[in-house]
Amino acid sequence: MIRAFLILLFLALGSPPLFCLQSSGSTSQRVTDSLGRRVVLSARAEKILSLQPEITRIVIALGAGERLVGVDYFILKHDHLFPTIFPGGRKLPAVSNTPEDMNFEMVMKLDPDIIFVSPTELQMVDSLQSKVRRPVVALASMGSFDKLLEEIKLVGRVLGREKRAAELVGDFQSRVEAVRKSVSSVLPGKKPRVYMSFWGSLTRTPVTYEPVDIAGGINCAEGILPAYLGTIATVVQLEQIVIWQPDVFLVQGNYPPRERPVTVEGVLLDKRFGSLPAVRNRKVFYTFGYWYWWDPAEVLVETLYLARLFHPEAAGPVSLETEGNEIFKKYYGIEGGFSSLCRVLECGRWDEK
């Protein structure tokens, strides 16, 4: 009950800055996280335990990767980027991110200065707080670019990497702005209606997906009540997809190719979707989608990719792969990061018609 109430409260508060930073003196900082909790942090966080993959990626992008003392199972087992952007990460110990099988003793042993968790795991916050007595900060972008950028800034302040954070935020904003401009001339009537099949099911779709919006598309499921409180996912009826008649059908491609529960081929061959414009015009593609929230570099590239899909005439001269690698280099300092991701996920085939 309390969980539901808090989540509702959180949603009701809307988008104004939900987390902010107040520094009182050089020895400690006070932080307000996604759940509205005020957390006091002492000095610069040297030992970071991150149980929220999105934050882990941000920490690495801020160049503080070597300060990580532990991560969660998802990023170690299921994340394709992690080994590329942070090769040493494989050796990090994994701590579960559900309170039921949480190894509190291991957490104590790691002795972190700060623990990042996902705000949807409310019980985690309470149990960690009471058992381990270390500062726990719940952060997630919840599918909003603004919140993602604020997150980067906050983590930057906490880790003493404000300059780097500002750099990344600026870069992100300018690239997003560029995309917005390139599709700004498109009339609202010409924006493609997009349906996304995420989370391995034809009927599970996000009620908000900003990359699609920025790339000049309209999310069919925009504004529907989420099926699970506190998340941004909903389950629609199959019929509803046919009623919507989407122009573009996106399938989540972050699953390794052989394990994809839903595939583009499958959708194209599915007789139930025969009447969809997306299927008739063969505009069924893969996209990255949420993968325990976002990776800032990946979602940036995704936005560029989607803009090209929806409005090929607005695409710039640079190839997506080149631009992608450039972004990855900026964020993670690695060469060919985007290309290697594409190899794993077989992205080369993604925008084949």
Binding site: G200, L225, V235, Q237, P261, G274
Partner: protein, 336 residues
Amino acid sequence: MKNKKAKVLAVVLFLLPFILTLASLSIGRFHIPPKDLGRTIIQAISPSAGPEVSAAARDILFRIRLPRLLLALMAGAALSVSGASLQALFKNPLVNEYILGISFGAAFGAALSLVFLGKNFPAQAAAFIFALGAVLAVLLISGRFESHTVSLLLTGVIVSAFFQALLSLVEFFASPYALQSLFFWLMGSLSLATWKDLSISLPVMAVGVAALILMRWRLNVLSLSEEEAKSMGVNVRREKLLVILLTSMITAAATAVAGVIGWIGLIVPHLVRMMVGADNRKVVPLSAALGASVLIIADDITRVAATFEIPIGILTSLIGIPFFIILLRRSGKVWL
């Protein structure tokens, strides 16, 4: 006079599933008024009759709604007949169709497929195989005991518990995304039924249900003590095994495609017995009809209640149980 009333009731119950199926074709997000329904069906049979019905409407009717309704029909019948037959066999009206470990066997199979095996082994096949595997385990383990009936029930409970533990283990290793799919499967859903899924499971269920309906009188005799039945010329072990295999087959087939939908096999036969008495000549076929109707109605509700899909298993429990309690108190009778 009681006879006449019973006959009328029987006729109504038999016709109900078909009426409901037809009516349900026009229920859903996509509004198809009943008069257009007739036109659409004719148009599907001979497309030249008129191009007025959109491709979307046709797809929704015949590729989304119809398979779903047929699955509801058949699965409702299968689960109810299975429950009624097992109640007779185990001489216990509290037995349900999952008593021999089928629900957890199937759940484990589906989990295994969704979490580890992926596309190499579709969830339906894995669920079916492990469901039957669970029953086989129960038969083998309990085979050596004297009081076969009690030992079957007990072994069923144990095997269920075992698969439940295995299921928890698989859940532990699953990514949050695989868990979501599994969760929906565990609570029952008819939403993703395709003609391909039905092409195997529907005939299997139809054959099994038909066979059990043929055995309806025999179930009366099998509901007596083993001694009595044997002395009356019944090869108890063999026929019991036959009934168990048939019920397992149809329950596994239904569960493999629709997930775990509870309470139908327990409540529907009870309702029927309250209406027409315990003679299985009436109980078994009427359970099939009523079960089919109940599941179609439940599915209709899930389709119109909200934009998202409420798993049907939750609905059958939430509605079935209070309804049953009300009926019990009204009639003052239990099964006896």
